[in-house]
Symmetry: C2
Subunit: 426 residues, 2 copies
Amino acid sequence: MTTQRPRIIIIGAGFGGLAVVNKLHRHDVDILLIDRNNFHTFTPLLYQVATCALDPSEIAYPVRGIYRKNRNVSFLLGEVIAIHPHEKRITVKTNGTTLDQSYDYLVIATGSVINFFGNDSIEQFAFGLKNLQDTLILRNHILKLFEKATWTKDSIERDAMTTMVVVGGGPTGLETAGALYELYNHVLSREYNRANAIRARVVLVEASNTLLTPYPDRLRELARKQLESLGVEVILGKAVQKMEKNRVILVDGEVIHTHTLVWSAGVKGSPVARMLGVELARGDRIPVKPTMEVIGLDDVYAAGDITYILDKSGQPYAQVITVAQQQGKLVAKNIINRLNDKPQAEFVYFDKGIMATIGRRRAVAYPFNKVQLSGFFAWITWLGLHLIWLMGFRNRINVFVNWVWNYLTYDRSVRIILDETKPQSG
Amino acid sequence: MTTQRPRIIIIGAGFGGLAVVNKLHRHDVDILLIDRNNFHTFTPLLYQVATCALDPSEIAYPVRGIYRKNRNVSFLLGEVIAIHPHEKRITVKTNGTTLDQSYDYLVIATGSVINFFGNDSIEQFAFGLKNLQDTLILRNHILKLFEKATWTKDSIERDAMTTMVVVGGGPTGLETAGALYELYNHVLSREYNRANAIRARVVLVEASNTLLTPYPDRLRELARKQLESLGVEVILGKAVQKMEKNRVILVDGEVIHTHTLVWSAGVKGSPVARMLGVELARGDRIPVKPTMEVIGLDDVYAAGDITYILDKSGQPYAQVITVAQQQGKLVAKNIINRLNDKPQAEFVYFDKGIMATIGRRRAVAYPFNKVQLSGFFAWITWLGLHLIWLMGFRNRINVFVNWVWNYLTYDRSVRIILDETKPQSG
């Protein structure tokens, strides 16, 4: 260690990375936060951007803005392309050049990416919902198809344009399927005044025999019922075999004619994990000690979706936000412990429970894994928690008011098709 | 004319086109509105999107939403690629196919596009501010350069990254220059906490000897003073000769090192004008009779920036919104007159005056060409008028509150760099 202040580099400005910074910045250290976007994304609400209920900027927070008052926190917009743990150095590609940056401690918090499980046909045609760019690509796609459908006379072609398949029976899949159904059949169809009515079909496909696997049986059943009463078709026990340009084929041969498949059936660790040169666990995740130190390296920690660490029942921790945040806090604590020659603490997860919405007024929730909530009351709980989360970033009363108003009335102008990098010439 | 309801096709959902629809839809006609975007853009505030004060969706209004309750108004998302006036038919390219549409009356309201006056080097490197796509490309460019500048040690290189040149001394140029200056020196620089301060240089270049040519002398001088007191450099009497990747060269050889040139020095008629097969006037504008009928064609009207019609002093009407709106109203009136076998009315322009803002609390205004306003009071007038305009589209109290709050505090999260069509893989 040098006689200067210790330099800590954190790669990734997601929930894990920010949790590290938030706990670390009050200490006498220099922090460099790196992300390939200049903003943090509030990912639980990505599906609302995809379904035109929210605007990108309402769930994207410029990182510089968050840490404006913290003089010891610097931000670098760039992509890490190499890590040299034995030289305590990383290489970052940033806007046309590459930079090398040295560290005393390194934190990997780059999260997870979509896992297509090696299925190339799906990877070629499917849409993801992991980040804001994906989300806007999906939104533009849906809106363009709607416009095309309004002018298509052939009803079979038209149905393929207004059929959407969501793969994955976890909270993201459910929330997306419900929101897509409402977008089409409650919002877009109102704006279509030609003779032929446009009705969308939304199909949720899950390979296992149940939705929301970690939830209690009763809530799982309720979730399915609520989804179906909304109008979404639920197919359980079948996986997707392959996709062509306008058809999805399930393993038993069933064919669904669609131009839109949204894949939320699995994730794997971000490619940055491979740059460490250590052996990765299943799903490309980095094995860490209970102290969150990366096994096999010195002075390198990790937090969040990218880590592989077993809970008391011998299962790897779920790749969810609350785990990332608690791990991030522990990383910060343990770096401070190192600096003060104190022993490392071990990860203890405080499970606050799980929840998922179904459409705009229904939900299931299992707070603290003790109470089972469902229906409108669960949805109110979800709303309140999201408000607290949102407010935690900034004092944005006006954003909240705007959001609630538009959420309840669904009167949004975010139904615009905008390709931000394609210039519109003459 | 057929025994069905008359079919009127309006190409362009800008201010002119919407003015036609708004007056026409109450009558017993079928209206087809065509635009290559599914939204109308409130163009006066584009420069605010470019300078991170507003979000795209706050100035983009889905056309279908505007006319949702009007059963005789249909919308087609597409680009007109051919007009056959003698067959009363147009050809539209829409999402991969082409459609033909017949009309009883046609209205061309496709507006204007950037005019580089044949200067290829400028066209290659310059940014425009004519539409939302251009604006987001410019915004992303500015923010990426800022990020790069924060990590550039060479001060000469860094200065080129934080120098911006705006060409054109009309309201758009002034507003853009002032807003860019404030974005950099009041907003972005606050978020930069490394040792070297970042200060931007904004240069407004105008080829003639004065800014805001149609304004009274006193206001022109005030505008220049206000801009300079803000910190913008004003160069008059020099045109831009050419641009290279990171230099702008003026006609007298003066070189400005910059990566950003915003061109707002001229417009010309949209290419749709050429599809009519009539001879166009200067600036690619369609010559129209005082009734707004296109000279040389039957049953074809035009309104807005794309028209060429002389005012009382023998000058073509300015390409501004109020002219477009009043011409659009007249087009609608005259189509109704045709349907009722009444004579055509002629265009009489009611000049409500002009105004331009300089930065966020200054402006010059010349309402009804009678009163000269400047400074904060003019700015309040501008604010009030924009509110009325915005409210005219929808009852959006919450949007207005949000907008004013953020406008005054400049606390926006729209400082995000987002390429909507580039997926972020792995």
